[in-house]
């Protein structure tokens, strides 16, 4: 009997061992190893040599780093505002029975099915200066002065790319809020109406607070996604013109795989990691709170 109990203590480890080993080798280990690589002069071919903090000293003097960081911040701020508000508004509108609601929902989440590469290509063509849909339409209605080189103007380009990201994100947020709304007890809303709340007050003081858990997840997902931004930039501009649309991930990729400065690339990764760590820890403490409730 005593032996049986002893053996059963190992049962969870028996289930965990293989996935956990794979996870440690491919995900957790590399995360830590990035820190080491960032302190070396690794070029991807020869052995890395330890060079201390030289990569970081160089990084903090590199103008492209600051352009990339600013672009990530622009991306992040756009992402936690526009898609969240638009997605919530759509979810509110489509959660009541409106004719054709299935078509509307499908319309908004259809961009999510496309890969970022495909989205980037399709939009690059929409943005095409001479024959793209956007400029063609602007010219045909006499708004020629608005027809720009969307991806070649260094003040516009990052916004033009963010628009594509938002185009994909709105449907995602809408789906999450629709699920959140479906989980709200209708009795609460009826009660607020009986108490004399108008539609806005019901939304502001009953629905919105009840949706807080969804909002937290939406915001965390949006932040993480904005830090992951790579594919669209890579396909649409490769960070150009003159690095004006560079983001950290793209900057890292170019330094590491085009310029063979892998140690330098690792230093950029570490910065990216430290920024995301703030949000990961925030989220983990939320999970911890939820877990302690029962």
């Amino acid at each position: 009997m005593a032996r049986r109990i002893n053996l059963s203590r190992f049962v969870p480890y028996f289930f965990l061992i293989i996935p956990l080993l794979i996870y440690l080798i491919w995900v957790i280990g590399p995360t830590i190893y990035t820190f080491y690589l960032s302190l070396t002069d690794w070029d991807g071919l020869s052995q890395p040599h330890f060079i201390g903090f030289q990569n970081y000293e160089k990084l903090f003097r590199d103008p492209v780093f600051y352009i990339s960081l600013k672009n990530n911040i622009k991306w992040l701020i756009s992402f936690i505002t526009i898609p969240v508000v638009a997605g919530l508004a759509l979810a509110m509108a489509l959660s009541r029975s409106i004719p054709g609601e299935r078509f509307f929902k499908a319309g908004f989440y259809s961009p999510m099915v496309l890969s970022l590469v495909v989205s980037g290509l399709i939009w690059s063509w929409m943005y095409h200066p001479a024959n793209g849909l956007i400029n063609s339409v602007l010219r045909s209605v006499g708004l020629d002065f608005l027809a720009k080189g969307w991806l070649s103007d260094k003040n516009l380009v990052i916004w033009a790319i963010i628009v594509v990201a938002i185009w994909r994100q709105v449907g995602y947020v809408m789906v999450l809020y629709l699920a959140g709304l479906a989980g709200i007890n209708p009795a609460l809303i009826d009660a607020s109406k009986i108490d004399g709340c108008n539609a806005w007050n019901t939304f502001r003081h009953v629905i919105l607070p009840l949706l807080t858990p969804v909002t937290v997840i939406v915001v965390v997902i949006s932040i993480i996604d904005s830090l992951r931004a790579f594919d669209l930039v890579s396909v649409m501009t490769r960070g150009g013109p003159y690095n004006s649309s560079s983001v950290l991930a793209n900057f890292m990729y170019i330094e590491a795989f085009n310029n063979y400065k892998m140690g330098y690339g690792a230093a950029i990764s570490v910065v990216l990691f430290l920024i995301s760590l703030v949000f990961i820890l925030f989220y983990l403490t939320r999970v911890l709170q939820d877990e302690l409730e029962y």
């Binding site: 280990g29 190893y33 759509l90």
Partner: protein, 279 residues
């Protein structure tokens, strides 16, 4: 939600038309792409985007499929996606079972590791994984890519399946244990069937994610013949720089598998997206 049968009051009709308009604007990129893919490049350049096409042709699709290489890029995507998907679902359901139903030292730590890892911008792992893949002799092979997809998706899948498995009533498992059922059999014959709805939702979502990956493919593969369709499209774009009809036709062809998954498994896809929030 209280359903009021005010049938299209003025305010609601306005709302209806605003949403209709927004949806149509949302679909414009698709319209632009489909119209473009069925015309010839000369026709667009000489007569403009908004002109009625002189003739409709599917030649761009043919060029993208054959000379553009989609005929081998697309199968590659499946060769990479399917094993990654199967492996990650099996492995994560194993670890999810351990984390969901057993109290043991390290449970909390491992869970946090999975959740933390799932939120990581995976670009952070790129250089060490590149080095690891190379050291294992898996650089420029399907398996190098499959191994990473499997490992990286473990975090998200384990987290979601664990939460789902916690909702299974303990009495069922207890009854099986009393009947002398081994833990492995409980996992395979009781837990897995009960978790199937979550696995279906997760599979749909993960299929799209792995299929749509681009960055890892360009980092871990070099040979053109091995590239999945996302990386292939980037090559195609470089090849047909100015011939947008071919690029756009290729992009549309590349989308067919995920669109099919979405059309037929839409319910699961949406469930998958919301699995993480609904607890």
């Amino acid at each position: 939600m209280s359903v009021k049968k005010t049938f299209l009051s003025p305010w609601r009709s306005l709302l209806f038309f605003v949403i209709l308009l927004a949806t149509l604007v949302w679909l414009l990129p698709f319209v632009s792409a489909i119209l473009t893919s069925m015309r010839s490049n000369d026709d667009i350049i000489t007569r403009g985007f908004l002109a009625l096409p002189r003739q409709i042709s599917f030649n761009s699709y043919k060029v993208a499929w054959t000379r553009g290489g989609l005929s081998h890029y697309l199968p590659n995507s499946f060769i990479i996606t399917i094993p990654s998907l199967v492996l990650t679902l099996i492995l994560s359901s194993l670890s999810a079972y351990a984390l969901a139903r057993f109290r043991f030292r390290g449970n909390r730590l491992f869970l946090y590791m999975y959740v933390g890892g799932m939120m990581l911008p995976f670009q952070v792992l790129l250089l060490p994984v590149f080095r690891l893949t190379d050291a294992l002799g898996l650089y420029d092979t399907y398996w190098g890519l499959i191994a990473f997809h499997t490992a990286f998706q473990l975090g998200f899948c384990t987290f979601l399946l664990r939460n789902y498995m916690r909702t299974v009533p303990g009495e069922i498992l207890e009854a099986a244990r009393i009947d002398g059922c081994s833990e492995l059999r409980i996992w395979a014959q009781i837990m897995m069937p009960l978790t199937l709805p979550a696995i279906a939702a997760l599979a749909t979502l993960e299929f799209t994610w792995i299929f749509n990956d681009y960055l890892l493919a360009i980092v871990l593969l070099r040979t053109d013949a091995l590239k999945p369709v996302t990386a292939g499209l980037a090559t195609l774009q470089g090849q047909y720089v100015t011939d947008w009809t071919v690029i756009v036709a290729g992009a549309l062809l590349a989308t067919i598998p995920t669109v099919l998954v979405f059309l037929f498994l839409q319910r699961y896809f949406i469930e998958g997206l919301t699995l993480g929030t609904g607890k």
